[in-house]
């Protein structure tokens, strides 16, 4: 109680499990195609849906956790996440498209206004091939990702000045409006030399750029799934540290009771703005990751439907639970991209029986039903406001309590 972190032992074990998981993931992705023909090979070969789900899941996990920081921990109901992701994705794309590829990407608008890329700047310092190339790629991407977050946070600060005076639904409407405006602005022709208008940005480094190849161009080690896990992992870890710090407690106090929090000397405006900016920073990073995942950026993909999707994941996972958000985002992505795909295709059984209802987009119908069931019967989501370690703790505590009761 008096100590901030309770037991270093269990966090150490958790860290070891995570590292082992990442190593296994790398090995599976690299050598999965060498399994004997069958289920294992189908699941683990490098072209499997599994890795797509894991990459997108890690991205969504970060964004939903950042959304949870705002909605679940600070109690600010904001729906601007897609807008901040868009800012992050565009910043990342604009900063990392190699100058050689720029004419090709911006061909409709006669070339790009910006003619450098972060990894090339580092490339001129460390060299462009071998280890130097790897270092400049990593540093360049890292800087671009941080810039993506900073740009999103900067816009959040500006928008937060007027908007954070609003409460509950009104804040949601204002932030949603902002996201839509940003989307329109980025498609504006006048900004095309920077944003490429309604066309997409491409040719920048993606997750697959991190695969290690030998001189023949064959892949030796596939890191394309581990990289998003690393980025998201570090970011989520920072968010968790923040939540467990003095500032996190202040955020929770604001969620519980604004008047009382203010009477305890917590500056509402400052703390709300802080939470909004940090949440947007990580949404921006998440946007950059989504850009890396999708390998193209286009403003029209960052719709309000995306925000609702994220909100849905937050609700499924449990409002106010970081681990809940992570679990839910992987489950949600796995369902929507992989496990429930079969609902979209017509299935004709061997005896000629056509399974009714299955047709294009039927998946979304099932999703809607699932959402309704969750909202009606499982309002607290998978985890409620508990975290994963809490579950283990309770199980361990129970026998003691029973003994005490005797």
């Amino acid at each position: 109680m008096i100590k901030q972190e309770k037991n270093h032992k269990s966090s150490f074990i958790a860290a070891i499990i995570l590292v082992a998981f990442l190593i296994i993931l790398t090995l599976l992705e690299t050598f999965g195609s060498q399994f004997p023909e069958g289920f294992l090979r189908k699941t683990f070969s490098s072209t499997s849906m599994l890795y797509t789900v894991l990459k997108k899941g890690a991205t969504y996990a970060l964004v939903t956790v950042s959304m949870n920081l705002l909605n679940g921990f600070t109690g600010l109901f904001s729906l601007g996440q897609a807008g901040f992701m868009l800012l992050g994705a565009y910043t990342y794309g604009i900063l990392t498209i190699p100058s050689a590829a720029r004419d090709d990407v911006y061909y409709l608008h006669g070339g790009s206004a910006i003619n450098f890329s972060t990894q090339e700047i580092f490339g001129s310092l460390f060299g462009n091939s071998g280890v130097g190339g790897a270092v400049s790629l990593i540093l360049g991407v890292l800087i671009a990702i941080i810039c993506a977050g900073l740009v999103a946070a900067f816009f959040a600060y500006l928008i937060g000045l007027p908007v954070l005076r609003l409460k509950s639904d009104y804040l949601a409407i204002a932030t949603l409006g902002f996201a839509e405006i940003i989307r329109a602005v980025f498609q504006w022709d006048k900004l095309a030399p920077i944003t490429n208008g309604a066309n997409m940005l491409k040719s920048y480094p993606t997750f697959s750029s991190f695969n290690i190849t030998n001189s023949n161009g064959d892949v030796i080690l596939r890191l394309s799934t581990v990289v998003p896990f690393l980025i998201a992992g570090v970011c989520i870890w920072i968010i968790v540290l923040l939540i467990n710090s003095s500032y996190g407690r202040a955020f929770k106090a604001i969620r519980e009771d604004e008047t009382a929090a203010e009477a305890m000397g917590i500056n509402l405006a400052k703390h709300k703005r802080l939470s909004f900016c940090i949440s947007s920073f990580f949404a921006g990073v998440g946007g950059a990751m989504l850009a890396m995942y999708a390998s193209t950026v286009q403003a029209k993909t960052f719709t309000s439907a995306m925000t609702y999707e994220l909100l849905l994941i937050v609700v499924i996972g449990g409002i106010g639970s970081v681990s809940g958000s992570c679990i839910a985002s992987f489950l949600y992505i796995a369902c929507s991209e992989w496990w429930l795909r079969f609902l979209d295709n017509e299935i004709i059984l061997s005896n000629g029986f056509k399974v009714p209802l299955l047709r294009n987009s039927f998946r979304m119908v099932v999703f809607s039903v699932v959402i309704m069931i969750i909202v009606l019967f499982f309002r607290r989501g998978i985890m409620g406001n508990k975290e994963l370690p809490d579950l283990f703790k309770r199980r361990r505590k129970k026998p003691e309590q029973q003994e005490a009761a005797k």
Binding site: M1, I2, K3, Q4, I238, L241, L242, S245, S246, Y247, R249, A250, K252, A253, E256, D257, T259, A260, A261, E262, A263, M264, G265, I266, N267, L268, A269, L274, I278, N385
Partner: protein, 280 residues
């Protein structure tokens, strides 16, 4: 005459056409326990909220240890509507938010308990320490502030120990019985290191025995924390036993002030509470 802690001058709060607090002036001196009483709807809590920054008063000034903390004059639409007195006496407009006032050293409790009910008792008190900690969000996130954090936690523990709440430290605040929630709210207010404690009906909903305990408790924390206490209360036995001076408010106006005995025999107070005998 001892040091004047809180000086309220011509405080007026007008909502639309309703003057909730009308030209209220009073003083609270260092080390005193002063009570503000009055029938329901007299404007006691409104006066409290003006002092603590929840509302910006329409007109008037509040001084804390001689420095002006709150000052305001009718502005905008209120300039025409203003029905109170002393218009034009106060020219500045100082409207601090409640957190700034807490920072100066004024803590308060609420009429209807406002704990952070989903958080633990320990966290409830710990949050009050956040304001005075030397840290920023980066140093707090990356645990560069661990010395500060440790100090905050130790001080919190000390307060819980002093208030005999340690055994509930890990319980969820909302699950505590009513009397303990009141107690915790006061403990949380004490954790902000106040010089002046404002209690808004601390004995609301308490039975006579709990009220008697509270009476002793308030006297005790005044001594141990060197506090000045200003409170709103309805329980007359508590007010009469504990307070050194009493102000009586009715329809927003101060109708009487004095020691408990003076107040008990004041015809205006009796009239305000019991009404006038119309036959007389």
């Amino acid at each position: 005459m001892s040091n004047c802690v809180l000086k309220v001058m011509n405080l007026t709060m007008q909502f639309g056409g309703v003057v909730a607090v009308d030209n209220l002036s009073f003083e609270v001196n260092e080390g005193e326990i002063v009570a503000l009483i009055g029938p329901n709807g007299a404007g006691k809590t409104t006066a409290f909220n003006c002092i603590t920054g929840v509302y910006a008063p329409t007109n008037g000034r509040v001084e804390f240890y001689g420095t002006t903390m709150v000052e305001n004059h009718p502005k905008g639409k209120m300039r025409k509507q203003y029905a109170g007195e002393n218009n034009g006496t106060y020219l500045r407009s100082i409207e601090p938010t409640p957190d700034k006032i807490t920072n100066l050293g004024i803590a308060r409790t609420f009429q209807n308990i406002r704990l952070f009910s989903q958080l633990s008792v320990f966290d409830n008190v710990l949050i009050a320490k956040h304001m005075r900690a030397k840290q920023n969000f980066l140093s707090a996130t990356f645990r560069i502030n661990h010395a500060e954090e440790k100090r905050m936690r130790e001080e919190t523990y000390a307060i819980l120990e002093e208030q005999d709440l340690v055994k509930y430290a890990e319980d969820i605040a909302g699950s505590l019985p009513y009397g303990l929630q009141r107690h915790l709210e006061i403990a949380r207010a004490l954790a902000t290191d106040p010089k002046l404690l404002l209690l808004d009906e601390p004995a609301a909903g308490m039975n006579p025995q709990e009220t008697a305990e509270l009476t002793g408790f308030i006297g005790q924390i005044r001594k141990s924390h060197n506090l000045t206490i200003f409170m709103i209360e309805h329980h007359m036995d508590l007010v009469m036993r504990i307070s050194e001076r009493i102000y009586v408010l009715d329809f927003g106006k101060l109708i009487a002030q004095g020691t408990p005995t003076e107040i008990q025999n004041d015809p205006r107070v009796i009239e305000a509470y019991l009404g006038v005998d119309e036959d007389a």
